[in-house]
């Protein structure tokens, strides 16, 4: 199942694609301070990325009956406090996804895949 059911009434149902949730998560991750980019989840994805742009790049969305499970794969700026940055990401992704989609977010895992060094001190 790649769609999640948000709500329904006698007229029909609202189905939300994982891609939609992924783009919101992706957008607010990239706007979070300290994040300098997303990273491939695995080798296949890194090859995939060369060929075609994918809304789910660096973001993985799953769900169970309790809510959404989001995994984020990111690159962080060297010389910043990573624990603060990842906390902010979790807060802002949870807030934005829940506000726009209306589904509870149960878990967000942030995978720091590497650091980008712009300046050495």
């Amino acid at each position: 199942m790649s769609e999640t059911e948000n709500n329904y009434n006698e007229l029909g149902s609202v189905l939300i694609q994982k891609e939609a949730i992924a783009s919101i998560a992706r957008q607010s991750t990239l706007q979070s301070y300290g994040v300098v980019g997303l990273a491939p989840k695995n080798l296949i994805e890194s090859i995939h990325q060369l060929l075609k742009k994918d809304a789910k790049y660096g973001v993985e969305v799953n769900f169970d009956h309790e809510g959404l499970l989001i995994d984020l794969y990111i690159m962080v700026e060297y010389g910043t406090r990573i624990i603060s940055i990842t906390n902010s990401i979790v807060n802002s992704v949870k807030y934005n996804v829940e506000k726009t989609i209306g589904l509870p977010v149960r878990r967000i895992n942030v995978h720091v895949r590497g650091l980008r060094i712009s300046n050495m001190d």
Partner: protein, 561 residues
């Protein structure tokens, strides 16, 4: 010398301290002044926080970051400004908290890099350092959002560059920077629509401005320990608590209601008052100002004389505090009897915003109380301290507020005790959970049944809007009474009774059995009883209870179950 000691210097002497070139100790002094002023304005900054997540902690995060940076240099006698700024940057990095804290640490990092190991700093170097600070701050994010602290440091850097070409005097450049920062903060709502919608300026930007303004105020000899322009709504003036801070010699309490003249300048008014006495508070509501001050015997008429020059006095109240204190000690806040836990029992810690609620929690078997609630989040340390000394290692925390759950979880992760946080987001949820609590049942068992109990109660809150805003399609004017049902805004109106009735309708009260009202510190019991009677006539089949909550800000907290 600390800033506190330095404030005894005359403005001329202060100017000399940062006269060119500025060395390490000069920067250290400025840092401390900026930090103190930010701390003074912390709550104002917190209240502005709507982006990226409206959790009201920007000011706190920035203060903690600045504090961490300053702690590193506090003992340092380093004259070399380059080396000292690297120490600041390292401290800021290690202590960075929240989004704005991380950005602040990047600003200091860039600043330090530009200074390298220069012994002193002139205006040219200051401009370069601020430019590098801005560059570094922008490098930390792929999609910079304008209308935030980033925009403010950008405008500061641009202004510093222009000013450094015009003059070589440090204080002149600093004055320009502060002015540019203020203008930049004012512009943030134009750049970030969400700010405009909420009717606020950016909180992080405001915080950064406060740091620079603090430096400037220090040089000018202005006070750093009180926010001059802060006027609170009348209902928030907490005159009770000022009793605890009576200083020897300040024997008289004077409260004056007055309507100010059109030329009234709050800042000057405050300054004059601070020469007369202590514990100064100024509140405003419906065009009336209320002033509160503690003064010594021989100065007890001065506040009246001074206020008469500023407007028309309507009412003066004067009390002898010494006599009042004697009487107060006996009857104020009867002692709260907390539950005594044994080694193998489970203990509950509840966060409570008022003495009445604390007593209710205690009577239900809570072993420790942490003071806190809306706009007064307890620190992780306070939560931790509340249960560290309990004689058991099984602890349950009831945060009773959405903004405190995180702090409670952090505290839970920092101890060796087994701590579970029940995610209660309101007082009624906390009380409902407490009803299920059994001291000698296990931690898991209690947690499970207490979590279940959360959903069995509906929460209503009645409070006063602190600013004009539109949320959930409800228009609210500052000063109006608003009703929140499970945290969602239901209605805005002009009196508490109507707000409560509309709230009960929105909460589908007919489907429930019992309504409990916890009234706040600025509600009169007679008013609550009249309201309870009214509710009884509308819902004759419901059980209606009234308890003293004593919480600030919220006139009523309502449990519907």
């Amino acid at each position: 010398m600390s800033v506190v000691e330095l404030t005894k210097l005359s403005p001329q002497e202060r100017h000399k301290l940062v006269s060119l070139p500025v060395n390490g100790q000069g920067l250290k002094t400025l840092m401390e002044a900026g930090m103190i002023w930010l701390k003074t304005n912390q709550q104002i900054v917190n209240n502005l926080n709507v982006f990226p997540v409206p959790d009201g902690d920007t000011g706190t995060n920035m203060v903690l970051t600045m504090q961490a940076a300053f702690d590193e240099i506090e003992k340092s006698g380093d004259e070399n400004i380059g080396q000292l700024s690297h120490t600041i940057a390292r401290g800021a990095l290690m202590g960075a908290r929240g989004n704005s804290g991380v950005i602040l640490s990047q600003i200091w990092r860039g600043f330090a890099r530009a200074l390298d190991d220069q012994p002193t700093m002139d205006v040219k170097l200051l401009a370069e350092a601020l430019l590098e600070a801005k560059e570094t701050a922008y490098k930390g994010v792929v999609r910079p959002v304008e209308g935030t602290i980033l925009t403010v440091i950008k405008d500061i850097a641009a202004q510093a560059k222009v000013s450094a070409q015009r003059t070589t005097i440090f204080t002149e450049v600093l004055a320009d920077i502060v002015e540019a920062a203020e203008a930049s903060v004012e512009r943030t709502p134009d750049l970030l629509p969400i700010l405009k919608k909420a009717g606020v300026v950016d909180s992080g930007g405001k915080g950064l401005f406060c740091i620079f303004e603090g430096m400037w105020r220090f040089i000018n000899g202005d006070a750093l320990d009180k926010a001059v322009t802060e006027v609170m709504p009348l209902s928030e003036m907490n005159l009770e608590d000022t009793m605890e801070s009576v200083e020897p010699g300040q024997d008289y309490e004077v409260v004056i209601d007055f309507s100010p003249e059109s030329t009234f300048n709050l800042e000057n008014y405050y300054d004059e008052l601070s020469k007369i006495g202590t514990s100064i508070q100024v509140g405003e509501g419906d065009g009336i100002y209320r002033m509160h001050i503690h003064v010594p015997l021989d100065k007890r008429y001065l506040p009246i004389d001074h206020t008469m020059t500023q407007g028309t006095i309507q009412k003066v109240m004067m009390e002898n505090l010494v006599a009042q204190m004697e009487g107060k000690k006996s009857d104020k806040h009867p002692k709260i009897n907390l539950a005594q836990v044994k080694a193998d029992e489970t203990a509950v810690v509840a966060v409570s915003p008022g003495p009445g609620l604390s007593r209710i929690f205690a009577s239900l078997g809570v072993a420790a109380i942490v003071q806190g609630g809306q706009t007064m989040n307890p620190s992780i340390k306070e939560v931790l301290a509340s249960f560290e000394n309990l004689p058991t290692d099984k602890v349950i925390i009831l945060p009773n507020n959405k903004n405190i759950i995180m702090a409670a979880k952090e505290a839970a992760s920092m101890t060796v005790k087994k701590v579970h946080v029940i995610p209660t987001i309101s007082i009624p949820q906390g009380i409902s959970a407490m009803f299920r609590f059994i001291p000698d049942a296990g931690l898991e068992e209690n947690t499970e049944s207490m979590i279940e109990a959360i959903d069995e109660v509906e929460t209503g809150e009645i409070t006063t809007a602190t600013r004009s805003v539109e949320i959930d399609n409800v228009q609210v004017q500052k000063g109006q009474v608003i009703a929140l049902y499970n945290g969602k805004l239901v209605t805005s109106t002009d009196n508490i009774d109507t707000a409560t009735e509309e709230l009960l309708i929105a909460a589908k009260t007919c489907d429930y059995e019992r309504i409990t009202l916890f009234y706040g510190e600025d509600m009169k019991l007679t008013h609550v009883n009249a309201l309870a009677d009214k509710i009884r006539s509308i819902y004759p089949d419901h059980e209606i209870e009234v308890h003293e909550g004593g919480q600030p800000h919220y006139q009523l907290i309502i449990a519907i179950e």
